[in-house]
Symmetry: C2
Amino acid sequence: MSGFVAIAGLGPGREDLVTPEVSAVLAEASDVIGYIPYVARVAPRDGLTLHPSDNRVELDRAELALRLAAEGRRVVVVSSGDPGVFAMASAVFEGLEQHPQYGDVEIRVLPGITAMLAAAAAAGAPLGHDFCAINLSDNLKPWELVEHRLRLAAQADFAMAFYNPRSKSRPHQFARALEILREECGNERLITFARTVSTPQQALNTVTLGEATPEMADMRTVVLLGNSATRRVGRHVYTPRSAG
Amino acid sequence: MSGFVAIAGLGPGREDLVTPEVSAVLAEASDVIGYIPYVARVAPRDGLTLHPSDNRVELDRAELALRLAAEGRRVVVVSSGDPGVFAMASAVFEGLEQHPQYGDVEIRVLPGITAMLAAAAAAGAPLGHDFCAINLSDNLKPWELVEHRLRLAAQADFAMAFYNPRSKSRPHQFARALEILREECGNERLITFARTVSTPQQALNTVTLGEATPEMADMRTVVLLGNSATRRVGRHVYTPRSAG
């Protein structure tokens, strides 16, 4: 069987942040599967079938990828950023668990530049010490767990990266998250809102927690919170390597 | 002034994980600065001066980079992985703080594939839910802070990635870290030791915390600990997207 599933990260948006490994697997793909805007980043060509799909059908995509690969197709499942960070890799393995008949399919995960690291690089080095990454969406976990994690992460003095901070369907939660963070970290802590990082529309905005408002984020924003030592130097924001 | 400092991530080791952005800046560099094994990854050529240096002289490197850039040189400071994750980016900004005369130097950070995400991809998707990254070295922070963070991160049920788990100068600390993690997470939690990820010598070893021994890690290993839901499917290790 020559088929495979490669779960590939396209990076945050700019083409020169796509790894050569990912470009190579796309060049040999017979099928590309993924969320509409990510599949749109792959150039059509003869012999390549594109399978764009809407949001929230991750397990359908996983099943399609596994089935096509079992038939001998060379399938690339595309994610933005890194497929292992709040993206398609876990969904494909969930699909494999549900469809054990595909247990022999070769599955590879190809890493990419994830949004928080592209955003951190654009801002300076706000994640330069111990940090955590939290998905603020409550699609797949109870909101209470998000609040619990925010408090413990603040008490651990982690720098933090927040994915999916805000959506139309849950406008109040990010306001609540900011409230918790102000309680735990105080008003002076630096927070960076990074929108559509690495694209021509990139917008970075660093303020204090006291100045931060929910409207500074949308679903295309990754939010970076400093730890207690994070500071500005010139136009950069960075977290020193040392602590304590 | 046409000089600049670009702080560039070379990724975990394999050449096809170096981004085109980083390859392009290396092609226009006049000077490359960094730890000996990372500078050794850059091919010598006419017009390029290589400045390899030993470990633990990060601030000297930062000062050299800023000084050369202020003189108009095109300086690339290389890190393995991502420069913003336990690497040179924070050190350069620390150097800028100490040497404000270089305040006009253009500094850019170019992201790379960091070790934990390459390791996670090789293993499957163990960081597929909220996670944290902790540097286990106590060179730059008290060991008590590491223990405190490990306990809070476990109580938050984060998946975890550990950088610099073990060195000759502190052989007992990783044993203590495993002890704390067993207390907080139990013996059945999955842990993956990933050594020299993406190189021909890559070695992956997934065991339970009860089976884990300190000798499974060295300074070239990144260690990934699952959260309470992390499990195996086939030869893969993954953390489901949902929780709670």
